[in-house]
């Protein structure tokens, strides 16, 4: 178990994979774009964009999909993660 440089990202990835079994999952750290806010957190990992396609989202509204992800990432959102942009789709049109 080596120490990772991106603990928050890794934790988000592990939790989302376990909860939603996504067909596609991309987690983009956008913290650098928001440096000017000066939230005073060293090391970034404060702003993320998640693009995920999962069968679990079929038949769910946009708000419901987002709430499901917010629920799984409650700990991250209450802590270091200041912004979480979500692009969530099901596997059916």
């Amino acid at each position: 178990m080596g120490e990772t440089m991106t603990p928050v990202r890794d934790s988000i990835e592990a939790k989302l994979t376990e909860a939603f079994a996504p067909e596609a999952l991309e987690i983009i750290d956008e913290s650098e774009k928001h440096r000017h806010h000066g939230h005073g957190i060293e090391g970034g990992e404060t702003h993320f964009k998640v693009v995920m396609r999962a069968p679990a989202f079929n038949g769910m509204s946009r708000v419901a999909r987002s709430r499901a992800v917010h629920g799984i990432l409650k700990q991250e959102l209450a802590g270091r993660v200041h912004a979480l942009s979500l692009d969530l789709t099901g596997t059916q049109a």
Binding site: H34, H37, R62, V63, S66, R67, H70, K74, L77, A78, A83, L84, S85, L86, D87
Partner: protein, 121 residues
């Protein structure tokens, strides 16, 4: 409903057809996400009330539990939670926002909405 801020929030969304809970004001947004949503609403000539959560810590926290939504901005139309920045952006581009506003009887500039879609096509 034990949080007293929820009553204030409820009063605002009951008294106004369109309410945006945001960081800053519609004239001077203080965050990129709030800026984007306020910008879309203004561009579409929608009459909306802006609630600056930075001026009221109780509302800033209370709106998150009220809506079961952890981030700001948050848009309400006719008392119904519509979403935050990502959802409003997606709905603007897909035309779903036009449908929602039409269904709810909210006046907006459809040509402006088409212009946004053309520019992002």
């Amino acid at each position: 409903m034990t949080d007293p801020s929820h009553e204030t929030i409820k009063a605002d969304i009951d008294a106004n057809d369109v309410v945006l809970f945001m960081k800053g004001t519609k004239q001077a947004p203080q965050c990129g996400f709030s800026h984007r949503v306020a910008g879309v609403l203004r561009y579409l000539d929608i009459d909306f009330k802006d609630v600056n959560v930075l001026e009221n810590e109780a509302i800033r926290n209370g709106i998150k539990t009220f809506s079961d939504w952890p981030t700001i901005p948050q848009l309400y139309v006719k008392g119904e939670f519509v979403g935050g920045c990502d959802i409003i952006t997606e709905m603007t581009l897909s035309g779903e926002l036009d449908s929602l506003l039409t269904d709810k009887g909210i006046a907006f500039n459809r040509e402006a909405a088409d212009k946004i879609r053309e520019a992002n096509a």
